[in-house]
């Protein structure tokens, strides 16, 4: 770990100013990802601006019927918020499927969006990695890539975004409100994270110095028909190999609206609009689900150790769609393998 200076911001303007005033500085929320990366020398900020105590921890109703999730609200407080549980149970399930209670108690919503990939090589300075050191090469291609991408990868990087929460968010489509040296702006969630392309060093479209202040959820929460299915190498406290977030609106057994997003398969939470379009107006049958699932993975590419994910994703999509259509899921349900 490299030495760094530290300050605690009192308001948003103060935070943005403090960060802009220090070269090579970084915001820190719960620190559950950034501090680990600093210990491994993967990140070497010279100055940390602690934003965890900013007055951005509220979860409150929006005039348009939506819900605002403050950027510094913890993952736990967000998951267990009564409004979230009642109106966005998909988000509740996704958050609870991630990490451990201790981590969720510390982790902030802003930090969750910004967390970096868990690619083994990204973490290990002894191996080349384009994301860590642009131009050095990608060790995961041709290496061990069990947790790597099958969709939207590039020749420069096949890393995945590891968040569970963000997969539900991709389906729920909030806007991300940010504040920076150039003022405030909103970014559609879908445009927040990016694919690696030739610049895997950029995980998202946030501009230098911008601070996430909230996530504004639209009114529609798919609270009746939803599912978050996470498949992983142990039943808790492991990142997703594949995860699926589904939100449906149904009229009888006809799907009138649909959202479908995948985690663990791409550099960003993978929302598939064309699959959603395929679902709309269809009967909720195994045949429909199978067709849609096959469509989602039609262009998937394996990298060796992750070849199985293509088939796993296909099956997981079918299962999640079925669960959502049945409408028996509740907030707090977390899939634990065979139970």
């Amino acid at each position: 770990m490299y030495p760094f200076t530290y300050s605690r911001a009192t308001d948003v303007a103060d935070a943005v100013r403090d960060k802009a005033g220090h070269d090579g500085s970084a915001y820190v929320g719960g620190g559950t990802n950034l501090i680990d990366l600093m210990k491994m020398n993967v990140e070497q900020p010279a100055h940390l601006v602690n934003v965890a105590k900013l007055p951005l921890a509220k979860i409150e109703d929006l005039p348009n019927g939506g819900l605002r999730l403050g950027a510094t609200a913890t993952n736990s407080d967000t998951a267990w918020n009564e409004q979230v549980k009642a109106r966005y149970p998909l988000l509740n399930q996704a958050i609870l499927a991630g990490a451990s209670p201790q981590l969720r108690n510390a982790a902030t919503n802003g930090g969750n969006l910004m967390q970096r990939t868990r690619c083994y090589y990204f973490y290990d300075l002894a191996t080349p990695c384009n994301k860590r050191e642009p131009g050095s090469g990608c060790s995961a291609i041709g290496g061990f890539n069990r947790i790597h991408a099958i969709l939207g990868a590039s020749e420069a990087c096949i890393a995945t975004h590891p968040s569970d929460m963000c997969v539900a968010l991709a389906a729920l489509a909030p806007t991300v409100r940010v504040s920076g040296p150039q003022g405030e702006r909103s970014i559609a969630f879908e445009d927040f994270h990016r694919l690696p392309g030739d610049h895997p060093e950029f995980d998202n479209t946030l501009a230098e110095g911008e601070l996430i202040t909230s996530l504004d959820l639209p009114e529609k929460g798919f609270a009746k028909h939803f599912a978050y299915l996470k498949l992983r190498d142990r039943h808790s406290y492991a990142f997703a190999l594949v995860s699926v977030a589904v939100g449906l609106e149904m009229d009888g057994d006809t799907i009138t609206d649909a959202r479908l997003a995948l985690g663990g398969v791409a550099h960003k939470p993978w929302r598939d609009h064309s699959a959603e379009a395929l679902l709309k107006g269809q009967h909720a049958t195994a045949e429909t689900f199978g067709r849609v699932a096959a469509h989602v993975v039609a262009n998937a590419v394996g990298q060796g150790s992750n070849d199985f994910k293509i088939e796993l994703a296909r099956r997981a999509i079918v299962r999640a769609l079925k669960q959502a259509a049945e409408g028996k899921q509740e907030a707090g349900d977390v899939y634990l393998g065979g139970q």
Binding site: M1, Y2, P3, N41, R118, Y120, Y121, Y123, D124, L125, A126, T127, S139, G142, G143, F144, R146, I147, L231, D233, R234, H235, S236, Y237, A238, F239, L241, F308, E311, L312, R315, A316, V318, R319, L336, G337, G338, Q339
Partner: protein, 743 residues
Amino acid sequence: MTQTNHIGKAPNRVDGPLKVAGTAHYSGEFNVPHLAYGYVVSSPIAKGKVVAIHADEVRALPGVLEVFSHENVPYLAWFDKSYKDQIAPGGSPFRPLHSPDITFNQQPVALVVADTFELARYAAALLRIDYEQEDHETNLETKRTEGYAPGGGKTGFQAPPPPRGNPDKALKNATHSIEAEYAHGAQHHNPMELFTTTVEWRGDGKITAYDKTQGVYNVKNYLMGVFGLGKDEVRVVNQFMGGGFGAGLRPQYSVFMAVLATLELKRSVRVTLTRQQMFSIGHRPNTLQLLKMGTNPDGTLASLQHHALHETSQFEDYTENIVNWSGMLYQCENVKLGYQLAKLDIYSPQDMRAPGAASGNVGLEVAMDEMAYAAGLDPLEFRLRNYADRDQNVDKPFSSKKLRECYKQAAAKFGWETRTQKPRSMRANGKLRGMGMGGGVWDATQTKSAAKALISADGKLTVRSATGENGTGTYTIMTQIAAETLGLPLEAVTFELGDTDQPEAPIQGGSWTAASVGTAVKNACDALGEKILKLAQKPADSPLKDAKYDEVEFVNGQLRLRLDHDQAVVLRDVLQASGETQLEADSSALPNMLKQQGYSMHSHNVAFAEVEVDEDLGTIKVTRVVSAVAAGRILNQKTARSQVLGSVVWGLGMALMEETVMDHKFGRYVNHNFAEYHIPVNADIPHIDVIFVHEDDDIVNPLGVKGIGEVGMLGVTAAIANAVFHATGKRVRDLPIMLDKLL
């Protein structure tokens, strides 16, 4: 009824309160004054040379005290012998910072010492080292035909016995036969506590090393050999340990580094490894096994052949007993066992919980399941038909063996009779259900140990032996043994361990501590008891006047005649009347070779497991495990049960998730952290029933104990693998069984 009858009960851990109050001190918690901190720099390549270390750049940082490397390490012992510890395998032990040669990835190449930990870590990050890389080989697959039989070496290693009968012919003529290969990757011990050594500089070349180790004497002897220290110049202490599992059996490079820096700087130094470096200190080796079996028409084994190949380093022949168990667990006249090593550019493997047995047991017990299916027999029935009443490897009877009783009790508790034999024939909760079983055998060993017992005039007993406590319950069971021997309540007894100022005990491994140190503790207390009896007999009117030691007993603070309880004296009165402030006795214990030579001494177990498999997604949930263990007398039901629970968790980890993955391009482990090397968490662990089947055995040792730290792990992994087959009809032969293998 007596209150000082402690053995076999379930008292709480005597060290529990210290642990929860934070007053149990671990090796990284001795905050001696003027402490400096060392941070190890590890090689990023698997093979080659260090060509330059730009140490002066970081030496210039204020607060950095020194950078140690092969370039400036002082003259140390020259011969390999000096570096060999109690359980060093054959070959040349690794010498840290000895030469510029790199022989494995993450090899320690430098130690940066600074005034603070943070500074040492930072300086280590800045240290530029130039390497010359050479081609390496870390893939066991490439060495399939280059295996060789190791020539002895490590204590406890036994080359497989020669073939018996005519295994090949018997296999050819068998009614049914199977042949299959089994594999598992490398696994690391991963104790929670990082390897840490705090070395206190006591002036005049004298040091105390607070070192995370499973054997303080082993470390002391190593340090004396390597650094040329005298007996009185080095003391090694380790009173608590946050898990060892074998990782602490050999002196680790952390202690070498800390002692080196302390002696050179004449200042106390602490060295703590990082979690990543914990993957550079030995592991359960990547192993390939070939099993061949055949049966006779009556379902008895006609032929059993088991061959294993595993990796070792370029410099040592690390060995473990993988295949030998297969010649003793079942009755079979035609047996062939083979064992080979292959050299790779890796660090030497190291004993890890039930070393060898855990690996070989998976091959044997999954093959037994395959054989049972091939022969059309229930797996339990198949084992019963092949029950071994004698150890055919050595042609001796077992000193005791209640495996049959284990099968019976565990099967009943588990409800094995509800199982239908056909794969995919059981369902529950919308999932495929499977039931499987596996059994195992482990050594019951006793090794030389010593102890000292002291009693004060007020009847407080202190017993000391330099053994270890890595969470197994040593403090508690030794306290029980001592208290029961001298008829005292547990509160009147203090057991002290883990200090080379105490009488010598062996490394804490092999499940032999209860038998070895326990017997020494009992002997020391008996020796003290004899002294007390003499004192009690001094008064002319002593009711014990002519009694011999074996005619008296210590019970409830009294010393009395066994056959006439009214003839008694109060222990404390005797001590106080003697005028002595303290009495003491030393004793040691050796196995009784004469008594034991005609027997094979082993503990046994069986595990039954139930799984539910989501057929579409491949996810496996273990829903129940029943484990029955026959390991002589159980000293403490509670700590013993905890050990078996832990063993089941280990077995489950081995079956379903544990694997250190090597990227052969870099010759480097890639998942060397707790986020990606998965060990089971609560959500993975089902209800576990533990059954102890009591065995009376006065041959193994006077206490009749066999040790339970390792045997409980056996059977479990195979039981789960077999249950997965029963559920799905898919036989996965390379562990761990992750969901993709079932898709």
